[in-house]
Symmetry: C2
């Protein structure tokens, strides 16, 4: 049974977390720390990672079969790379209780919704799409922490079929983890995150890969400093996860990539002409916008 949605008042008796990595593991730790759940069963492919999940008390039990794991669960979180969602949804639907809430932590939403519709059919109303805006370049149960979502944002992309109480209950679960929840459509979500998350990852991977392939890569990395380190931090992110995100959201991502290349082409002109005033204007406006963002001026 799920409690009312007010922040922190959510309570789940049996929670199944499929994919006990940074996100799934931190969600489990946060619910436990808040006393917002009973038993948590974890599902994972990697025995070593699941051993860590057990040893760290992230999960109370480990299952290898997702179907068995969700049996009797009132809340199911799918937190694997998104490419595994279609097969996973198919596996769990037969044993998913008709009163259970199913949610995900995928970084893309339109593809996840399509997979859920295909697998759940008339029961798709049980699935409430969610995307916690939290992460790190580290991954796995070893990186999970109870406060990962504290003060972070979670975007819910509710379906027309979702009962409002179900959306509120999912919001309550994330709020119990310390997060603030927001709601928007799946297509709008994918466009926003293609811009502020997916493109920066692609750009960072591309820059590091470009220099790693140069004959003088040792010299280049040898002189790279703090600016390069921070600019490329996200190029240490999980390759499989980002492969899935980029392919799943490729339409919106290609659109943002093309707009960015156009932006670089436009900047190339004053650069080549040595037009310092034009460059300084762009740099000043960018710094001003970023500093206003850091000051908390922008709210969704």
């Amino acid at each position: 049974m799920t409690a009312p949605a007010a922040a922190g008042r959510a309570r789940f008796e049996r929670v199944a977390v499929i994919g006990v990595g940074l996100i799934g593991g931190s969600f489990a730790l946060a619910l436990k720390a808040r006393g917002a759940c009973g038993t948590i069963v974890g599902v994972g492919r990697d025995p070593g990672n699941m051993r860590v999940a057990r040893e760290r008390g992230i999960v109370d039990a480990v299952e290898t079969d997702p179907g068995a794991a969700v049996r009797g669960a009132d809340l199911v979180l799918v937190a694997t790379p998104v490419a595994q969602f279609p097969a996973l949804f198919e596996r769990i639907v037969p044993s998913l209780s008709s009163t259970a809430l199913l949610m995900d932590a995928g970084s893309t939403k339109q593809d996840v919704v399509a997979a859920a519709r295909s697998a759940l059919g008339a029961r798709v109303g049980q699935f409430v799409p969610a995307h916690p805006i939290a992460g790190a370049e580290h991954s796995g149960a070893a990186a999970a922490k109870a406060d990962l979502f504290a003060g972070k944002r979670v975007v819910l992309a509710p379906l027309p079929e979702n009962p409002p109480a179900s959306v509120d209950a999912v919001a309550g679960a994330w709020e119990a983890c310390g997060a603030r929840t927001f709601r928007m459509g799946a297509a709008e979500h994918d466009a926003v995150f293609a811009a502020v998350s997916h493109l920066p990852h692609l750009l960072a991977y591309a820059l590091v890969h470009e220099y790693a392939g140069r004959p003088n890569s040792g010299q280049l990395f040898g002189y790279a400093a703090g600016g390069f380190r921070d600019f490329t931090r996200i190029a240490s992110s999980h390759p499989e996860m980002w492969r899935d995100i980029c392919t799943a959201n490729r339409v919106a991502l290609v659109a943002e990539l093309d707009r960015y290349v156009d932006k670089l082409r436009a900047l190339r002109k004053p650069l080549l002409a040595g037009d310092g005033a034009a460059l300084e204007t762009v740099f000043r406006e960018a710094r001003s916008a970023r500093n206003r963002w850091l000051a908390g001026e922008f709210e969704p």
Copy 2:
């Protein structure tokens, strides 16, 4: 008089620091902390910044006239934005002692060398080009700190006219600040830093500026998270300084920009085709290279 060059044994009686910002101010603090200098006179255009430099004990005296400041100095550091170098060199040459060492902290070298040759003429051997690989998005005397260069790299780009003892003395000054010194040609320097420093700054400024100009900029920045914050940290860098660096090194920077745009075009194909395997290979290789870099595997 300059002491032998062995690390830490450099000693300068009167040091003139022209441009008492993060770099010039930190150099002064480091020399003082190491007892490697007598008096330090600072030159700056901004009275407020120079007051901070005096109050923090970064400099012992303040001059507004660079010519007066270098009179009697045995070491002169020019640490202003590089665009000011030509005029500054012209102003200090008449009062520069024939035994004084002149060095800079500019992020570009070919343009600085050209300016020095033009102003110093036959005395260009007194100028030892240097580039400390240290910085932050903060600037000004208030941001200066004695340990800014500890363990950092300083590239020296010696001229054929430099007496070896002068190059060693400049190396000794930076080593007294805790830095490790390396030597390469000015053109090679500019090509390396166009890649690992100047391009990342341009890319970060461009991304922030692009989103700041969108009708939904509030929404975009509202959902931007830690990855975006680190990727764009250098977009909070000093606009005037980066205007000068980008224009001074525009030939090498445009070349790197074009190669990067080609790289993005090449990545666009597997992205558009949803070729996850090709993307994952790039992401894995990039992460591997970056992690090897973080592990210290790359040395100049």
